[in-house]
Symmetry: C2
Subunit: 340 residues, 2 copies
């Protein structure tokens, strides 16, 4: 059933060593022999056994990536960028989805560790990086994606979320809103915490401005919908003038709850800004203002850092790099100035 190098060797009347050479160093083998071996391979339908190869090499040719939510276009864009860079380096990208659950994240990390992946890219669910620290110490280049590592040792590529949060809320304030609601959660996610911190900073700059928190359990459309519903139910006088949602998925949920289920007008009654600038955001009922992040570039860079780490590791200690991108405000209809 399983065709091995040995079978190929027999069919081509050469030794297994020669077959291996044909596969890996064809220039070392007489071209006539190469042809004969290739013929045998084709005839028998031989396919290299990657497990054996890895066992010998001690390393695999794939890199593992764990994202918070595959359903979020932001992360699929990041993954795409990572895939591109990985392909350039001849590596495959294994994509895992933690769904913001520490348990699932751990399962994937175990899997990747057992597979001896060439590196791990991860957007961690929580702030506890001890598990990752162990991984890194054991020699697996690890890059934090969309997560600034305060502590030394970790390579990371991220976007300045504090700046992004500031941009978003500053924009809401600039367009005349004072009572602003921050929709987001859980607060175990660094993204949420930082964006909120940025928001607070902007609020602090304007006397009389007020920031209110509306928590969610995850950064999903569904959660946004229920957050939006709670706002909708409120008495008109107690509603915020604007909402800053921790990401576009939430924002779209809020938007649906306000405009489609309820009859609250965006931006007239409540302005709305999201985060990530996913492609769907601009096609929303009311085109969504947002904070843009260079998603594909983040992924691309993450793999790049991983490769660097994996090179330098062999030489010296190698300072782990940190890349920080700056976010960008994208203004659309959902935050047009209130036309009073």
């Amino acid at each position: 059933m399983a065709v091995s190098v040995r079978d190929v060797a027999a069919a081509a009347s050469v030794s297994v060593g020669t077959v291996s050479n044909v596969l890996n160093r064809p220039d070392k083998v007489a071209s006539e022999t190469v042809a004969r071996v290739h013929a045998a391979i084709a005839e028998l339908g031989f396919v290299r056994n990657d497990a054996a190869r890895q066992l010998r090499a001690g390393k695999s040719r794939s890199i593992g990536m764990v994202v918070l939510d595959v359903g979020n276009p932001f992360f699929t864009d990041v993954a795409r960028g990572a895939e591109d860079r990985a392909a350039e380096a001849g590596l495959a990208l294994l994509l895992g989805n933690s769904d913001e659950k520490a348990e699932r994240e751990a399962t994937y990390l175990d899997l990747f560790e057992e597979q001896r992946v060439a590196g791990v890219l991860i957007t961690p669910v929580g702030e506890d990086l001890t598990r990752l620290d162990r991984l890194r110490r054991n020699g697996t280049p690890t890059v934090l994606v969309d997560h600034q590592a305060d502590r030394d040792g970790f390579a990371s590529v991220a976007v300045d979320d504090v700046a992004g949060g500031y941009l978003a809320v500053r924009h809401l304030l600039d367009t005349g809103r004072r009572h602003i609601a921050f929709v987001g959660g859980p607060h175990t996610l660094r993204q949420v915490v930082d964006r909120l911190a940025g928001a607070r900073r902007a609020i602090a700059e304007v006397p009389g401005a007020l920031l209110e928190l509306v928590g969610t359990d995850a950064l999903t459309v569904l959660q946004g919908r229920s957050a939006g519903a709670t706002l909708r139910e409120r008495d008109v006088t107690r509603r915020p003038e604007a909402v800053f949602a921790a990401n576009d998925l939430l924002a779209m949920g809020v938007l649906q709850a306000l405009t489609m289920v309820g009859d609250i007008r965006v931006p007239h009654d409540i302005a709305l800004i999201g985060y990530d600038d996913i492609a769907f955001a601009q096609a929303a009922v009311v085109p969504l203002s947002s904070i843009r992040q260079p998603a594909a570039l983040i992924g691309y860079t993450a793999v790049d850092l991983m490769l660097q780490a994996s090179d330098s590791e062999t030489d010296a200690a190698g300072e782990s790099q940190k890349v920080l991108f700056q976010p960008e405000l994208v203004v659309r209809e959902s935050t047009s100035p209130a036309s009073t």
Copy 2:
């Protein structure tokens, strides 16, 4: 550096065989010994080498999946369903993205084959299944996802796209439209071909109804945007009364081109219906009518079929199963009857 069973065995003063038994059949080992081995494992930070394990077993514990477009929420939903079922079976899901390119598809298949995955789930780029046939014959359970296999031998799970196409266009006709444009392509994709066939069937039922084709190179928002642009540029009299887009991504692109760039009203000037009913469709500028498919269920079922095939394979030939779901029309604002 690398800790192996041998090291653990030494540390626990037992043989390697016993360590293996502790790992795989703990009930066969005296509990005192189990504890000692576990202590050694923890102390040394031992992690099983999956390559060695696979080599011995001849099989891996992961299954490979190739989708047409990870950026399409439909496929990420399918992948989610697949992941769930795989997790239930203790298998990991490796997700690859072909981006509708045969070459990338082939790369992933090669990779999966070398990894000796337990099974392959694939939405093929083209109609040429010889590569997959070889894979299946060599003993890898293969399930076609969102693709009905005409020929025998392949397990498949799909949705009746002809019926879906029919539903969509029939609905447009029922709401009074006669000149209908089908936006979609390339015609190498079975989904496109079948949905068009269904559309044609509906058109044939209504005298005077006209179906026009607007081709695209891929099923993406961007492609939809340019298709929409060509319609927009046309003289008013030559514009269709309705558009049936081969999927929601295209539909959203068309929608943007018509309503946001241009000033064509949807559904008043042109009605629009998509396909897949992705979550973002209902939050669009004009909430999108669509054809709903049970995405997660498709993925879940696909893994299920794969597992069945992998069981029956050992016993007998085992008839390869085919599952066909029925699509469902979801009516929203984008196809409201023309208010003449």
